[in-house]
Amino acid sequence: MQYLLLIYSAEGSGPVYETPEFGKLMEGYMAMTEEAKQNNVFEGGNALQAVETATSVRVRNGKTETIDGPFAETKEQLGGYYLMNCKDLDEALYYASKIPTAEFGTIEVRPVWEL
């Protein structure tokens, strides 16, 4: 069963780029991604560019509105995701807890709607 692991954190809450702490964070990501791949759980995943680069689109009465910025202005922002194929929620929660950002941000785990 597929789960989407959404990685949220507040701007500036994580380690700063090019510091040893940032290196550790990256190592953590590599290790957990490797573990997920080894166990045939990993289906995909990426980090996202900062919310300043976000564009929101909505169509109302046939007219497309294009808006600068994310869907919701919240303190914690979506910064990346994983798509995992897990046997149950406990396995998905296990990987969520292994995501290094979980230590200062929040990981939302959502089952994928299976057709």
Partner: protein, 419 residues
């Protein structure tokens, strides 16, 4: 008359068998909603058949078999099912099992006990606390939605919705129907303990609601704790929880007077505490304590046991209670535990010692709005003869109290300070 008693026997059997049979149905169907629906249908069938024909030799096997057939009927009727491979496979396996069981005469003891899996699913941390409690009462306790709604002072519709939402999440998020592995067990079993403890407290707290229903919650929590001890005999804290509930419960009816007013431990009629529950609670605790270092439920049970075995407030071994609270503080480092330790210490070594310990908590301010803290502080100042400070603390305690009897008591004490 005869029909009445048959109905009551059926009701009793059903109540005993509900969780047992439902847990197996969930493991067959992997669908809590479907399992509950067919279980309900099997009960209706039982009421129709058992009356005229008598109660079958193995009610459990009868209910299980009937419910299983209902599940097969339902899956067959489901218009969409031909498109769903998983459901088709499920149907085949159900039919196979049913065929197997028709030829053999299954007895109660042949049927496995799957309730532990059901408990862990119902108490999964991915569900809200309210949902965990409601689901545990519904699926393991067999309480009706209406009964649970009444106990928690919400409408039946609200409670029904809460249950439906929880079952939906279990299904769609694929919350496992299993006993957690060793790496998760210690953490998850805590959630099970806390659900049972919360059910008990909901019944124990005399704040509001129908008192009869609330007593039922206490009974139900004890029943669940007993079940847990039977299913996890190696987990000492499960026994600790059961012991704690029994010891609490031995004083339950003496906690309030005829008008429903709260009676403090010091003023309770100890001769009316339930001796059988005390003896059982202490026995279970002793057996648990030899299994290893005690956890927080065993420590709390031990505190309760010291009170239960004391002939009077004065004859209580306060020294031991103070030590037990200190031990509890290692697991629950809260100001409330410290407060209790300080009060126990004051009875063991004098009010000065208690005040000394309390002064540390005063500084950190976390108990500023906690009524029992001001009441305890006032009492300690009264006992050392500091009338001025005692009065101030009594006033604070009175202003924070919302219990009439307690207020009256504190006001009486406050007047004594003015003399």
């Amino acid at each position: 008359m005869k029909q009445d008693s048959t109905a009551r026997i059926i009701e009793d059997v059903v109540r005993q068998e509900w969780g047992r049979v439902l847990s197996i149905l969930v493991s067959y169907t992997r669908d809590m909603e479907l399992a509950e629906d067919v279980m309900q249908e099997a009960l209706i069938a039982a009421l129709q058949h058992w009356g005229p024909r008598g109660i079958p030799e193995s009610p459990r096997a009868w209910l299980l078999q009937t419910a299983r057939r209902k599940a097969i009927d339902r899956l067959r009727r489901d218009a969409n099912f031909s498109r769903k491979r998983a459901e088709y496979e499920l149907l085949l396996s159900l039919e196979q099992q049913a065929g197997l069981n028709d030829t053999e005469n299954h007895m109660d003891q042949d049927i496995p006990d799957e309730r532990l899996r059901l408990i862990f699913t119902c108490c999964h941390p991915a569900l809200s606390e309210g949902a965990r409690i409601a689901l545990t009462l519904r699926t393991l306790g067999g309480l009706t939605t209406e009964e649970i709604a009444r106990a928690f002072l919400v409408s039946e519709g609200t409670m029904a919705q809460r249950l439906v939402r929880a079952k939906k999440k279990i299904k769609l998020a694929n919350i496992p129907y299993d006993i957690p592995g060793p790496e998760l067990l210690a953490e998850r079993v805590q959630s099970v303990f806390s659900v049972i403890y919360l059910i008990y407290n909901e019944g124990y707290a005399v704040t509001s609601g129908d008192t009869l229903t609330r007593a039922d919650l206490c009974t139900e929590a004890i029943r669940l704790a007993r079940l847990l001890v039977r299913l996890m005999p190696d987990v000492a804290e499960a026994a600790g929880l059961l012991s704690l509930l029994l010891l609490h419960d031995s004083r339950r009816t003496e906690r309030t007077d005829d008008q429903g007013m709260f009676i403090a431990l010091i003023d309770q009629d100890r001769s009316r505490w339930d001796r059988d529950q005390i003896i059982e609670g202490v026995k279970i605790l002793k057996a648990a304590l030899v299994m290893g270092p005690p956890g927080p439920y065993q420590i709390q049970a031990a505190i309760s046991a010291v009170h239960a075995e004391a002939e009077s407030h004065e004859a209580t071994n306060w020294h031991e209670i103070a030590l037990l609270y200190e031990k509890l503080f290692e697991y629950q480092p809260t100001s409330i535990v410290q407060l209790n330790a300080a009060v126990a210490l004051s009875f063991a070594q004098g009010p000065e010692k208690g005040l000394e310990m309390l002064s540390e908590i005063v500084c950190d301010g976390t108990l500023d709005d906690y009524q029992p803290f001001h009441a305890a502080l006032a009492d300690l100042y009264r006992r050392v003869g500091n009338k001025q400070k005692a009065s101030a603390a009594y006033e604070q305690a009175i202003s924070l109290s919302n219990n009439v009897a307690e207020k009256e008591f504190l006001e009486k004490r406050l007047q004594e300070m003015a003399r």
